[in-house]
């Protein structure tokens, strides 16, 4: 009398287009939503950072006009210069002028180089971008290596864990100096300054030496650039890679004990297949989040490490701009890093969405 008949599940409506939904998730509407959200975030960050730099300028005892003209300049010349730079205008007017210029790519003039900040950055960014990108990739690879090697049962695991802990607690500049002493001074394996020892570098198009070298078929340039990258990238990425590795190790070991891993073993899969096909994809989420978090730290590391390795990037540019109160240059670098942070975290979010179909951005 009480048979329930017919009826297809609720999932009937959603299961089939799953593939399409997954595609859309990364290519369609939600991606557009994510990008729109991040664009707004970037705008907010830019305004906030620009405002902070302007407040700093206001509070700073340094007078850019005086710094430009040198110590011998007369008071009237300094006053004239201040007027020329618009430094006597009201705070809001200065900030407003700066913000209005931003959408057109106008970051103002550097007081020091007397060129548009945008042009200066264009010259310094490729070196930094190459170093930062290498460092992030290295941090991920090392993170995976640390996760796997400390979770395997072998005699060195606990020693390695100790070494990693100690290494991770050392600041990037200390690691950089240590690396120079060992690998350059003592062993002479690797260069310790600059990006390249080759004089006739290919002239473009990206400014990234490894990429340009590959495009131009100049493998001498590529290998030389890679050698130069190793030590600074290692110094920057070591701490973050340990953090990433620890998160990854924790999530790997909890996913290994999960119900679905047990199901996979019950099917008769080998441990390796269970790890590769089932566990890994479920475990990368937390590690990716940690990577996103570490990016801010790594940017700070880049600026310092560039000093130690005489890397001709924005770290150098910043270091030269600060003593002379070159606020437009400082503001430009700050905004650039802020935007870089948003961009990298957006990429992390997209990767997480790809790894886990349940995530809707």
């Amino acid at each position: 009398m009480s048979a329930l008949t017919g009826g297809v599940g609720p999932a009937a409506a959603t299961a089939g287009p799953a593939a399409a939904a997954a595609l859309r998730r990364v290519t369609g509407v939600p991606l557009v939503r994510l990008l729109a959200k991040r664009l707004v975030a970037a705008a907010v960050i830019v305004v906030a950072l620009a405002t902070s730099v302007f407040v700093l300028q206001r509070l700073s005892p340094l007078d850019p006009a005086k710094a430009m003209l040198g110590p011998g300049a007369s008071a009237s010349a300094v006053a004239q210069q201040r007027a020329k730079l618009g430094l006597d205008d009201p705070f809001a007017a200065q900030l407003g002028r700066y913000l209005v210029g931003l959408p057109q790519g106008d970051l103002g003039m550097s007081y020091r180089t007397r060129r548009p900040v945008m042009t200066d950055l264009g010259a310094f960014v490729p070196a930094t971008a190459e170093l930062a990108f290498t460092a992030i990739v290295l941090a991920l690879l090392l993170g995976i290596f640390f996760a796997v090697s400390t979770s395997l049962r072998w005699p060195g695991a606990s020693v390695l864990r100790g070494v990693l802990m100690a290494g991770a607690s050392a600041p990037a500049f200390l690691l950089g100096i240590g690396a120079i002493l060992v690998f350059y001074k003592q062993l002479g394996w690797l260069p310790a300054s600059g990006r390249s020892s080759i004089t006739d570098l290919p002239g473009g198009p990206s400014g990234l030496l490894v990429l340009d070298g590959l495009l131009a078929g100049r493998f001498d340039v590529v290998s030389d650039a890679l050698k130069h990258l190793v030590l600074p990238a290692l110094a920057i990425s070591f701490g973050p890679s340990v953090a990433i590795g620890r998160v990854l190790r924790t999530s790997l070991s909890s996913e290994e004990r999960s119900d679905y891993a047990r199901t996979a073993r019950a099917k008769g899969l080998t441990d390796g297949a269970v790890l590769r096909r089932h566990v890994l994809r479920n475990a990368v989420g937390p590690a990716l989040s940690m990577t996103g978090l570490q990016v801010g730290l790594m940017f700070a590391g880049v600026l310092v490490v560039e000093q130690i390795f005489a890397w001709p990037g924005i770290g150098q540019y910043t270091a030269q701009s600060i003593p002379v109160a070159d606020f437009p240059a400082i503001a430009g670098v700050t905004l650039l890093l802020g935007i870089g942070y948003v961009v990298i975290n957006t990429v992390v979010d997209i990767l997480q969405g790809l790894a886990d179909p349940r995530i809707t951005t």
């Binding site: 297809v8 959603t14 809707t360």
Partner: protein, 677 residues
């Protein structure tokens, strides 16, 4: 060797289907884990055989070792325990064989189905790929999905697990388990996470697969009703040993061991007497860290004597193929089984005068307010959530679609329905944890509502002692400091917890004790109405029975109303005066407990009642999947599954409202095609 070995002979009796070599043979299995410096003796001498094509049920309270036995046969014991004995599957000892050999046995001869199909499937892999891993090819995967009754299988291959309903997910698990036609499938609580109508379908599927492909099943379940429906033979486990094994009918109807008898007695069914308290098994499962030297059941056994506590009893054959490990002779045990137990105060649903307020309250459910004071009055409540639908757009999910319900002072009302029907949402609205989007909710007095959750363990702050947790409520209720200690002690005593518990922390208590703490905390300042959200669903039969008895006693002594959410009709029947049946955000039928369980009138209520597994009940024919609250079908939301549906039932203009039949006062039904007898 050790004394335990004397129990080794249990279950070597020939299975009914003597089709040659057993597919699996467990011989004197011992499994001991090491945890926090103590030996955890999970299995202490179990022997059991599974014949080809046989369905063997493994029943017993939680912690008795059922899952460890299943995992031993799969060769998947985690936590590197010490083992002795043998667990042989198709000639290979899954305890000692090499990794590669065990893998081969798993791949070729074994299948596994676990309790929670959501976590047991890989959430980031399409179900198609997961089935192909076991089945070998996509065509075979499609064939298997068809065989386990998944509609539109080719399309489902592309789905991720979270895109399927619970029932479909479990079918996918079963399809993987029977891929490659294994000799034996280990199914560990395969229906526990499912709704009762879906459970009936899955059990039917197990039986059908056995008949069609001839594979044997080891079906682990704590639900004796489930065992009664499908298994050929039952083994009852207690504290790491088998107490009794034999043909299902024999063991379940004519138990020959005091434990099996007590277990059967404490289970709830639609025939459980509502007028006497439930026969809770006293005490609890012994700690596996500190096992009894003799019969493990002795501390809880009515028939225990000095002869029970020295050596484990030897299993003896009491009937053909039916063995029991107890020192008493059969006549004595049968006499115990037939004895009427000592009188206790009546169970929950039977407070005196319960029907009078019930009748009054019913009159108020749909026909505007009544004069009687009510503990809570819900009128036309709506609740809609916005949910991400997987493609980023937020869709409205209608959890409640116009619910009216009045609970009279001191009355107990149970709300039953499948997962997603809106039961918990209704409770949260009454508790004031969420606001309704439409309609009104009035509480009768300032004493308000207090809530007890499904898993009280999770709701106990881990760093506070139980005393502090209970005292917290007193402080927020403004009870003077001087009185608080006394009130805490009283509250703990009332829920039957020893006073020392006040100094313990949540993690140190058992599930049943934690549930009691939840009740103590909710009632230390007696509320007008006690709200219970599935407080027994995570508990064993015996513990569940004692918690239900306790709710009834608290209700009487503190004169509270109770609103009790459960998916289990047999629980609803004993705790409540009235039962409200929900389907997709609506109450489709409401009436007295007996009306709903014995004379259901709405087609959905009838399906629910028929699906409750029990002895001597034929499993109902296959039924449809529950519909989604994301898009409730138009007209009567039940029409796609309704055997009595007519063309007008799917008319979008139709809106069946709760209505009483002429001459009836207590029952309201929302259906346009009632069979009025």
């Amino acid at each position: 060797m050790s004394q335990d070995d004397t129990t080794a002979a249990v279950a070597t009796a020939p299975p009914p289907t003597d089709a040659g070599e057993p597919v699996a043979r467990v011989e004197d299995l011992h499994v001991t884990f090491r945890r926090a410096g103590a030996d955890i003796r999970a299995i202490r001498g179990v022997s059991l055989e599974v014949a080809p094509g046989e369905i063997v049920g493994l029943v017993g309270e939680s912690g008795s070792g059922k899952s460890v036995l299943g995992l031993s046969l799969l060769g998947l014991l985690g936590g590197s325990p010490r083992t002795s004995g043998r667990a042989v599957v198709r000639g290979a000892d899954m305890l000692t064989a090499g990794a590669a050999e065990r893998r081969d046995v798993r791949r070729l001869h074994l299948g596994a189905v676990f309790q929670d199909p959501m976590t047991s499937l890989n959430p980031t892999m399409r179900v198609g790929r997961q089935i192909v891993e076991a089945a070998g090819s996509e065509d075979e995967a499609v064939r298997l999905l068809k065989a386990v009754g998944v509609p539109d299988p080719a399309r489902r291959l592309r789905a991720y697990p979270h895109e399927l309903s619970g029932g479909l997910r479990q079918r996918v698990m079963i399809a993987m388990a029977v891929a490659g036609t294994p000799s034996l499938v280990i199914a560990d609580e395969p229906t526990t996470a499912l709704d009762v109508t879906v459970q009936a379908q899955v059990l039917g599927l197990v039986k059908r697969l056995r008949d069609e492909i001839g594979c044997a099943f080891l079906l682990v379940t704590h639900d004796l009703g489930v065992a009664a429906q499908v298994v050929d033979r039952v083994a009852v486990m207690y504290a790491g040993r088998i107490t009794e094994v034999g043909p299902a009918d024999e063991v379940l109807r004519n138990g020959a061991h005091p434990y099996g008898v007590a277990l059967m007695r404490s289970r709830l069914s639609l025939r459980t007497d509502r007028d006497t308290p439930l026969l809770a098994l006293p005490g609890s499962v012994p700690s596996p860290a500190d096992p009894e030297p003799g019969c493990a059941f002795a501390p809880r056994c009515t028939l225990a004597g000095p002869d029970c506590t020295t050596t484990p009893p030897v299993p003896v054959e009491v009937a053909p193929g039916h063995l029991a490990a107890c020192v008493r002779d059969l006549a004595e045990i049968r006499a115990f089984a037939d004895a009427v137990p000592a009188e206790e105060p009546p169970a929950a649903g039977t407070s005196s005068g319960a029907t009078a307020p019930a009748a009054a309250a019913v009159a108020g459910t749909d026909d505007g307010p009544v004069e009687e004071p009510a503990a809570v009055r819900v009128q036309n409540a709506y609740r809609t959530y916005g949910v991400g639908s997987g493609i980023g757009r937020r869709r409205p999910l209608q959890a409640l679609r116009g619910v009216s319900l009045t609970v009279a002072r001191g009355e107990a009302v149970a709300v039953v329905g499948e997962s997603g029907s809106g039961k918990s949402t209704l409770l949260r609205l009454v508790a004031g944890l969420e606001r309704a989007d439409g309609g009104t909710i009035e509480l009768g007095s300032a004493a308000g509502a207090q809530m007890v959750f499904q898993d009280s363990g999770a709701s106990l702050t881990p760093w506070l002692t139980i005393g502090e947790l209970v005292r917290e409520r007193l402080r927020s209720a403004g009870v003077p400091r001087a009185e608080r200690d006394r009130r805490v002690a009283e509250a703990l005593e009332l829920v039957g917890l020893p006073a020392e518990v006040a100094k313990a922390r949540g993690t140190q208590l058992s599930g049943g004790q934690r549930q009691r703490v939840g009740l103590a905390r909710a009632t230390v300042v007696p509320p007008e109405i006690l709200l219970c959200d599935e407080p027994t669903s995570a508990l064993d039969v015996s513990l569940a029975a004692s918690v239900i008895n306790l709710v009834g006693r608290l209700r009487r002594e503190l004169d509270m109303a109770v609103l009790f959410v459960t998916h289990d009709l047999s629980v609803a029947r004993v705790v409540a005066d009235r039962i409200a049946v929900m389907y997709l955000g609506r109450i489709v039928e409401i009436g007295t407990a007996d009306e709903i369980t014995h004379r259901p009138r709405h087609p959905y209520t009838q399906a629910l009642v028929a699906a409750v597994p029990d002895l001597g009940v034929e499993p109902p024919p296959p039924s449809g999947e529950p519909a989604s609250p994301l898009d409730p079908p138009p007209g009567c939301a039940f029409h796609p599954r309704c055997p009595r549906a007519t063309a007008s039932c799917s008319d979008p203009g139709l809106d069946p409202r709760l209505a009483a039949q002429p001459g009836e006062r207590t029952r309201l039904t929302a259906c346009i095609n009632l069979e009025v007898s």
